[in-house]
Symmetry: C2
Subunit: 265 residues, 2 copies
């Protein structure tokens, strides 16, 4: 059985959503002992526990006091509620959230930290954990070491990140992930109007994402807004006449590109 910092690690997984599922399965695959799953949704709890070959509970009061690490992947709003009802026996509790400061855990255990993988998770997709940046924070050097070693079992990119940095990172991730995905959704809607299949955009989407690993996004910017091509922009806006929401968005983002590159509008 693998040990961390000389300590036998028995991990309890709190939550059974996308992140909790993929993270606990990966830890399990790397030999970490998962002792219990908690989720208020019995179907999710039993499904995940079954895959992890461990038991599950559906009430926070029933969470085992015998784990050595509690990984909390419930929704942001539920973190404090779950912790207030369970007995963690002052063991190490760590949440996996981007935007929640570490210190909300301090009143529930003297040993606490953050174990935040910067990635988007869907149950239906396998992700390669070895490349995922794990953002670690802890209240003591010893707890930091425990979480770093746990993360290092599954990832080659483990970093010490403060709550303030993590919050900033989470905001950046909203732009780089959530907002980018919305741009894809709009592109999908636009091409479907002329009976074109979305897959025609895959190579463009993939290259756009790959490019910025070699060229800064500032230098990679192209398009009508970047070259102040008013004729094309006017044409695009008129094509969006029956979609006022998209028309407004087209203008806002084009204006932002102009401002960013200090171009005349």
């Amino acid at each position: 059985m693998p040990k961390i910092s000389g300590m036998e690690k028995k991990v309890a997984i709190l939550g059974a959503g996308n992140l909790a599922t993929l993270l606990s399965l990966e830890l399990h695959r790397k030999g970490v002992e998962i002792v219990q799953v908690f989720s208020r949704t019995e179907t999710s709890a039993s499904l995940l526990a079954n895959m992890l070959e461990c038991c599950y509970v559906t009430k926070p009061e029933e969470i085992t006091p015998d784990a050595t690490i509690y990984l909390i992947s419930v929704s942001d709003m539920a973190i404090e509620d779950v912790l207030s009802k369970m007995d963690c026996n002052n063991k190490l509790v760590a949440h996996t959230a981007g935007s929640i400061p570490m210190n909300i855990l301090s009143k529930f255990s003297e040993n606490h930290g953050v174990f935040y993988p910067l990635q988007t998770f869907s149950k239906s997709r396998n992700v390669n954990f070895s490349c995922i940046p794990f953002c670690i924070e802890a209240n003591t050097a010893e707890n930091e070491q425990i979480l770093v070693e746990l993360a290092s079992l599954i990832s080659n990119d483990v970093r010490i990140i403060t709550s303030e940095q993590r919050k900033q990172l989470h905001l950046a991730a909203v732009f780089a992930n959530n907002f980018v995905n919305h741009m894809y959704a709009i592109a999908d809607e636009i091409i479907q109007q002329k009976d074109l299949p979305f897959d025609i955009l895959y190579p463009l989407i993939s290259e756009t994402a790959a490019k910025i690993e070699n060229i800064t996004p500032h230098a990679a910017q192209t398009g009508p807004a970047k070259r102040s091509d008013m004729a094309v922009m006017q044409d695009h806006l008129s094509m969006l006449n029956d979609k006022p929401n998209l028309k407004k968005l087209y203008s806002s983002i084009s204006d932002s590109i102009s401002e960013y590159h200090k171009l005349p509008k």
Copy 2:
């Protein structure tokens, strides 16, 4: 020497920008005879001609009348000007632009078409042409066949697309490429404020792009706007207080996500 539809193909490349450069080099690599490069910028013209082992000219009047296909990759605004000054001898002229209708070529040659690769090109990056969708349009079945065969020499994804569809595709590409890249640029700016390196976002950016090949972007949407998480959104807006432009953009895109998913705002 490879022939298309029984016709010996001698291609003249008009333009020496990113697209003209990468496209002509790829055609050359596949055995297509490039007979001449035209660009008003002598440095660009001579550099590309040198790589292609052909001659170059810098005035449209000097463009050879002996090519069998003229590929026009000059800027959108220069297309008509160049064509009006050259003698194409009624041979096949095809432009490579997303947003320009085919029929602007009709007054310059009885044989005309469009040869539009849906991809973003930078001279400093090699792209895999075999995956790039080539959008072909032509004024006759014979010219269509010639352009399809030319595109098929370098790509496995050749499609017949009308001017109207191509224009729509170009608008979709502005969202999926130009606007997405701007989101990356903003994310970069945001994380640099807390001394974090942009590479921490690479796995997230790459996975966000890869995901939509398995899950529709509508289904893949996550984040505070999607789950109507007002607390996180308010927090993010306050973090952008000193950047009114980004604050406005954050609101516009979040509102659009709400509208798109018919959520309460």
